[in-house]
């Protein structure tokens, strides 16, 4: 487990409110678009659910970046696991009771659990991170959108009977849990350091979202209401675009990229 950031707020090029809007609106639109368009146009539209999940992943990664910059006292991964732990409970509940309104109910309840845990962290555990309440709420909601988006993409709908037999009983929820969780926590963890940049971190989140989408596509190949091939193809495209964007920013930010070479000399270091 690596140590957290140095404290203080994180510098951001893209305003955080825009990312919240992108994650929440984009996520829900993606999920509902997949649900309705699969009904209307056919199963190949199921890939939209995973696009919604990617919006959630980018939002979650941005929120993790903001809160983990304060230093959590333990590794960055803990907060990702917490997000998905809350998310999986809220998502299952929302889909089980909500019917068509399921995703919205799930996000609302996730936000409530997240808020409660954020308040507990500051008021009871005295963590003293000013944005803890807001970040926990965001992370829980983003985790839930990720879980529902990937599930929808796997089975072609978020109605609970299908999700139950296709995702939960078969255990594919485990891969959603961890692929979604890592996609949210890995970007900041992988870019941790003094010269971390928001756009590079988010490009990495985008790329990891593509990976999660490919995995969802693999599962979708055996589901009657979902199409795997298109999901995998779009996932590969997202991954390629994401990785190119990430690598471009690595080249921009790195001290030096070299094919091979010795260590920087003493004079260089001074």
């Amino acid at each position: 487990m690596s140590v957290g950031g140095g404290g203080g707020g994180a510098h951001a090029a893209i305003p955080h409110n825009n990312i919240i809007a992108f994650g929440l609106v984009g996520g829900l639109v993606g999920i509902y678009a997949a649900y309705f368009l699969v009904d209307m146009l056919g199963e190949y539209m199921s890939f939209l659910g995973a696009l919604g999940a990617i919006c959630g992943i980018v939002w979650g990664a941005a929120a993790v970046r903001r809160v983990a910059n304060y230093g959590l006292g333990t590794g960055v991964p803990s907060i990702g696991m917490l997000a998905l732990g809350m998310g999986v409970v809220a998502a299952t509940f929302g889909l089980a009771v909500g019917g068509v309104a399921g995703p919205v109910i799930a996000v609302i309840f996730a936000a409530i659990i997240g808020l409660v845990i954020g308040v507990l962290a500051n008021k009871v555990l005295k963590m003293g991170i000013p944005i803890m309440e807001q970040s926990m709420t965001e992370i829980a909601a983003a985790g839930t959108i990720t879980i529902i988006g990937l599930s929808t993409s796997m089975v072609g709908t978020f109605l609970f009977d299908e999700v139950m037999t296709g995702v939960i009983t078969t255990g594919h929820i485990a891969v959603i849990f961890i692929a979604g969780g890592l996609a949210i926590l890995h970007p900041f963890n992988a870019n941790l350091g003094a010269d971390e940049k928001q756009d590079r971190t988010l490009a990495c989140a985008f790329e990891k979202g593509g990976i999660a989408m490919i995995v969802a596509g693999i599962v979708a190949t055996i589901m009657p209401l979902a199409s795997g091939a298109l999901t995998i193809l779009v996932g590969l495209a997202v991954w390629y675009v994401g990785f190119s964007a990430f690598y471009k920013r690595v080249k921009r930010d790195a001290y030096m990229i070299t094919g091979s070479g010795l260590l920087p000399s003493k004079e260089e270091l001074e």
Partner: protein, 303 residues
């Protein structure tokens, strides 16, 4: 089931788990992952840039859980499409290793790029040479864990599904690997430049060994060293965990009655007791062999 058959299956599970544990640890040493990586991360800041891979994939348990869950999911998809078990497990492990490779790449690039002000270069030859090794070890780990999970479900009739079982054993193998073998890498291999036989003095933090037997040290040199002790004992640890926790219920099969089930609980507690006593023995032996680091000032004053 025939007790002898389930014993044989348990032995196979134990063997596969041992290989998984060993390859898991070596994978984390080649790439430098988890807690010891904090020193690799710190080194450039202390003016010690290096040529060691920086594989900061979120700590070992989640990263192994990801590999194993992806492998398990792909395998279960292939099996429900009619593929043979071995083929399904192998392809699952290949896809998991490939995805693990992308995670390793982004963390090496990302962490190194975030050290611009400390002048840590990104060496592409390090990436090219280490990535196949990392993915190879990841393949072995995932495949063995899938074998363990599959046997537990298909033969020993465990109720969990393959992806969930693989996920859980992935978390466990990562937790064990980062608790045992990584210490050999972190406390010894990274700091061979200080005297053997003590913990890392905080004053030496970041001063990792950067030169190898020949040339500049990289992750491959580290796995060569750790393969002598850290890797195998990690394998033993995971093998023991999987084997012993299953063995007691296979030997004392609770399906023959609750009383036998309770015997399995007692057997497990006995194992824990034996391990506790063993730990105490090593503690006493180590204290005697290595002796105290300081003189007892109070006793001198009293005398």
């Amino acid at each position: 089931m025939e007790p002898l058959t389930s014993m044989g299956v348990m032995a196979l599970i134990g063997a596969a788990a041992t290989i998984a544990g060993a390859s898991e640890d070596l994978e984390s040493d080649v790439g430098s992952q988890s807690n010891p990586n904090s020193q690799v991360q710190l080194a450039p800041q202390m003016m010690y840039p290096h040529r060691i891979f920086n594989k900061a994939i979120s700590g070992e348990p989640p990263s192994n859980a990801l590999m194993c869950a992806i492998g398990g999911t792909t395998a279960s998809v292939l099996m429900s499409a009619g593929a043979s078990v071995i083929l399904a497990l192998a392809i699952g492990a290949i896809i998991a290793a490939a995805i693990h490779g992308t995670y390793a790449t982004t963390s090496y690039f990302g962490r190194s790029a975030s050290q611009r002000r400390f002048k840590q270069p990104i060496y592409l030859d390090i990436l090219r040479s280490h990535l196949p090794v990392i993915m190879g070890y990841a393949f072995i780990t995932t495949f063995c864990i899938l074998v363990v999970s599959y046997l537990m479900i298909a033969v020993l009739a465990h109720p969990f599904s393959l992806p969930l079982m693989a996920f859980i054993w992935g978390i466990t193998v990562g937790a064990i690997g980062s608790s045992t073998g990584d210490v050999h890498y972190g406390a010894e291999r990274e700091f061979q430049n200080v005297e053997f036989g003590s913990g890392l003095n905080a004053a030496n933090s970041g001063n990792i060994v950067r030169r190898a037997e020949s040339g500049l040290r990289n992750g491959m040199d580290n796995s060569w060293f750790c393969a002598k002790f850290g890797g195998p004992v990690t394998g033993l640890a995971f093998g023991m965990t999987v084997f012993l926790s299953g063995w007691i219920t296979v030997l004392f099969d609770a399906s023959k009655g609750d009383a036998i089930g309770w015997i399995s609980v007692i057997a497990g507690t006995l194992i824990v007791l034996i391990l506790t006593i063993w730990n105490r023995n090593i503690e006493v032996a180590a204290r005697k062999a290595f002796g105290p680091y300081k003189k007892d000032e109070e006793a001198e004053v009293a005398a």
